[in-house]
């Protein structure tokens, strides 16, 4: 299990390949990547992610440990960036490895649902009309009830 919180970009392909190659007894690897999304109706100049050093790693480890307790997983990888980013840049990735795909898919969804509203990150957008904090969505909180 690896939890990485960093400012610099990561190499999605290299990370996914290394993760998939690290075990020979896993038949399924699922990866998800979050990308800074532009909005043609309100072009985004920059997104800045603030986080709570210390608690961030602790919260991500807790979420990943819970996923490993719920599903049969061989390995889990979470990489999440902070700091300023441009539209199209990769913000974060999760990867799960399991013997079979159901565990890998479900665990990846669980990790994403919890990471969105239980890991201490906050997004601020800068557009032509100024800066604004991204508000948490009710649907993201509601998504946790299915687990």
């Amino acid at each position: 299990m690896r939890i990485i919180v960093q400012e610099q970009p990561f190499d999605l392909g290299a990370e996914a390949n290394a993760f998939a190659a690290s075990r020979t007894d896993m038949g399924a690897v699922v990866t998800f990547t979050g990308v800074v999304r532009d909005d043609p109706s309100r072009p985004l100049r920059q997104m800045t992610i603030e986080h709570y050093p210390g608690m961030t790693e602790r919260a991500l480890e807790k979420i990943a440990t819970e996923a490993r307790a719920r599903w049969s997983l061989g390995d889990v990888l979470v990489i999440h960036r902070f700091g300023p980013m441009r539209p199209g840049e990769q913000i974060m990735m999760v990867a799960t490895a399991a013997r079979h795909r159901k565990d890998a898919f479900e665990a990846a969804e669980y990790l994403m649902d919890y990471l969105k509203s239980r890991a201490p990150f906050w997004k601020k957008e800068l557009a032509a009309d100024g800066e604004s904090w991204v508000a948490a969505k009710d649907e993201d909180e509601d998504a946790l009830t299915r687990w």
């Binding site: 969105k116 601020k124 508000a135």
Partner: protein, 82 residues
């Protein structure tokens, strides 16, 4: 003394990312009352507790959580990771 940390718009409203607070508050809610009474910027930041989350010693908790033995309390808006 307890370290009090603020993030995102809470930090912007209060104007500092962290500060040391001398308090006898027994719970987070009591600490919030003390901070609110300090200055307008605190009263503004803590005007709607439903819009805030709190962590004690880096674990997410509730406003009625006890502060006995706590070293660090953080206030912030709902998180937007991913």
């Amino acid at each position: 003394m307890i370290d009090v940390l603020y993030f995102a718009w809470v930090r912007e409203r209060i104007g500092v990312p962290r500060e040391q607070v001398s308090t006898d508050a027994a719970t987070v809610a009591e600490l919030v009352e003390e901070l609110r009474a300090r200055e307008e910027r605190y009263a503004l930041a803590f005007s709607d507790l439903k819009a805030l989350r709190v962590a004690v010693d880096q674990d997410l908790t509730d406003f009625d959580a006890p502060l006995k033995g706590a070293r660090e309390v953080a206030f912030f808006p709902p998180m937007t990771g991913g």
